[in-house]
């Protein structure tokens, strides 16, 4: 009986348009944020911070980016990692070449560069659809990584094409320990997730979803396909670009272009599909799932004391099997599962 909508009347459309119309949800979210900001850095070990939470947040951000494109605007993309790479390498170059440029501004510029690349590679989406487009986005993936290995300027003429992220210093404050990095990433991700939520509940978001659900009808209603799709590509790439920059600066440190390979694109794609296509919450759930599951499996496999090669292969198999299992249980992802859970809770204790 704790989770009830009843009795919470909305007296204005403004109140009804809130991101979390149910009060319990709002309280829960605020509590979660408070914990994430205050308690987590105090209590979590550096391992949890730097090996679990930071990548989780970064991947969530990239997943939100991909979700904007694939989940909301319906354009299946396999080139996420390429946009992340653009973000990272562009940020690196901006900081390198513009002395005194604030790091956050560099991240934004990196994101914008990714957005430009996104627009360029989004152009074909006006004609190409579905899996054809997905396969075509691989062109982005391979081409961008190729450019990064081929153009020495981009890697500051490092012989092997590897870049080393500069220290993150904001207003003289050095974000060098796991907890500081964590807080920075958390702030960026929280703000950007909020912005994404806002976009999705206003006209841009609706235009994306309209194009996704039925592009001909969307056009008849007055949305411009080109503008809508390209905007989706731009915004999505921007998100991925910032995520890519964080991936380099707050997580890996020293990176080669190969770190942004197809594999990464696929991992982000898993996240949104497992988490829930077309759901910001799903991006987080999916990222958590994909980051945690292998760790969990690894730990379990070790505790079983299996021979390592058997354990590794079993891990892979269980990972694949779990993906399938979750899809069968709920094809719309963890976010839907969550939602159904809430609906059940709302009806509780009556079954229907």
């Amino acid at each position: 009986m704790l989770y009830r909508e009843a009795g919470q009347f909305k007296t204005s459309y403004q109140a009804d348009g809130q991101i979390f119309p149910i009060m319990q949800d709002r309280i829960a979210l605020l509590a979660l944020l408070a914990v994430a900001i205050v308690f987590v850095p105090l209590l979590a070990s550096p391992y949890v911070l730097s090996a679990i939470l930071i990548p989780f947040l970064i991947f969530s951000l990239a997943a939100i980016g991909l979700n904007i494109l694939t989940g909301y605007a319906g354009q299946l993309s396999l080139g996420t990692a390429a946009f992340m790479a653009v973000g990272a390498f562009a940020s690196y170059n901006f900081i390198l070449r513009i002395p005194g440029l604030p790091v956050l501004v560099a991240f934004i510029l990196g994101g914008l560069s990714a957005a430009l690349v996104g627009i360029a590679f989004g152009l074909p989406s006006l004609r190409i659809r579905g899996f054809y487009l997905a396969a075509a986005t691989l062109a982005t993936q391979f081409f961008v990584v190729w450019c990064l290995t081929k153009i020495p300027y981009l890697t500051n003429y490092s012989t092997s094409g590897v870049i080393t992220a500069q220290p993150i210093v904001i207003l003289g404050y050095n974000f060098d320990t796991p907890d500081r990095k964590y807080l920075l990433v958390l702030a960026v991700v929280a703000v950007m997730a909020l912005l994404a939520k806002n976009m999705i509940r206003s006209n841009v978001g609706r235009s994306w979803m309209a194009v996704r659900d039925m592009d001909v009808a969307a056009e008849v209603i007055g949305f411009r396909l080109m503008r809508t799709k390209l905007l989706a590509f731009a915004v999505s790439s921007f998100y991925c670009g910032v995520a890519g920059a964080l991936y380099a600066y707050a997580y890996l440190g020293t990176v080669e272009p190969e770190a942004y390979n197809l594999d990464l694109s696929f991992r982000i794609l898993f996240m949104i599909i497992i988490g829930g296509v077309g759901s910001v919450l799903g991006s987080f759930l999916g990222a958590a799932f994909i980051v945690l599951l292998p760790v969990l499996l690894n730990v379990v496999a070790h505790s079983l004391a299996l021979p390592t090669s058997v354990a590794s292969n079993l891990e892979l198999m269980v990972f694949g099997a779990l993906i399938i299992f979750f899809l069968i249980v709920e094809p719309h992802g963890l976010a839907r599962l969550w939602q159904i859970g809430k609906e059940k809770l709302r009806l509780w204790p009556f079954p229907h």
Binding site: I340, E343, K344, L347, H352
Partner: protein, 267 residues
């Protein structure tokens, strides 16, 4: 007499939470036409999908009750098995195979039959005879044909399986009045000549009751009324809400009153 098809106290839930059918029971005797009437969202299509076991693909679950066809339980069978046993469904909303031509669409309908080429040809001819428009469009991809043509195609496709019982979901939707009459003519024809039984969900109540032997009225997932078709069409409420006639005969759509009296069965 055991009914040909019987649905006993079926309860259906979509998505684990949305309860749609709340204990529906109905019977179709052999060789009869039974109409299933009801407002939008009453659960007619859901009932038909429950019978043809197509619910599984739409994340619907039958949580209670059972369905029997020719005296056997069928709720666990596959649709393929059902079609083989003679139970075909025409789905709501056409569902033609867009990339196949009209003729190929029709031929897939005969998938379960292992017949000679000439027999197949005869069946095809019969469908073309019923729907001359299809003959003209036989080699166009179904995805490009008009709404009505697709509807005809869907009905024709079900006929190709030579079923002994057909579930028809809104056959008249989007069809020109003349053809609607023809479709019902075909239904009657098959029913009387080939002893095919029908369960039809239909919104065009007047014509449905005209051709049916028996009718059920579904509201909010419950059967609220059942009876011989003739009796139903005399019922005051049915007349007012489903046939659009009340005391003073048929009313123009132009001068509808804004407030209506409550249906008696809701009382």
């Amino acid at each position: 007499m055991t009914p040909y098809l019987s649905v006993n106290n079926v309860e259906v839930i979509y998505d684990h939470v949305i309860l749609v059918l709340k204990g529906v029971s109905l019977q179709v005797p052999q060789g009869k036409i039974v109409a299933l009437l009801g407002a939008n969202g009453a659960g007619k299509s859901t009932t038909l999908k429950t019978i043809s076991t197509l619910l599984r693909g739409e994340r619907g679950d039958v949580t209670k009750g059972e369905v029997q066809f020719k005296g056997e339980r069928i709720d666990q069978l596959t649709p393929n098995e059902l079609v083989r046993r003679g139970l075909s469904q025409v789905m709501e909303g056409r569902h033609c195979f867009g990339h196949l031509t009209i003729e190929e669409n029709l031929l897939t309908g005969a998938y379960t039959r292992s017949t000679s080429r000439s027999e197949l040809k005869a069946s095809l001819e019969k469908v073309y005879h019923y729907f001359p428009r299809l003959r003209e469009r036989r080699s166009s991809q179904a995805g490009y044909t008009s709404g009505g043509e697709q509807q005809m195609c869907a009905i024709g496709r079900a006929l190709m399986a030579k079923p002994s019982m057909i579930l028809l979901d809104e056959p008249s939707m989007g069809i020109a009045p003349q053809i609607v009459e023809e479709i019902f003519g075909i239904v009657k024809d098959l029913n009387s000549k080939e002893n095919v039984s029908f369960l039809l969900a239909e919104q065009n109540t007047s014509i449905a009751l005209r051709y049916a032997d028996f009718g059920y009225i579904l509201e909010n997932g419950r059967v609220v009324m059942e009876g011989a078709a003739a009796d139903l069409s005399c019922n005051e409420d049915v007349k007012e809400f489903y046939l659009g006639v009340s005391g003073a005969g048929r009313k123009s759509f132009r001068d509808m009153k804004f407030y209506r009296r409550r249906k008696r069965w809701l009382a």
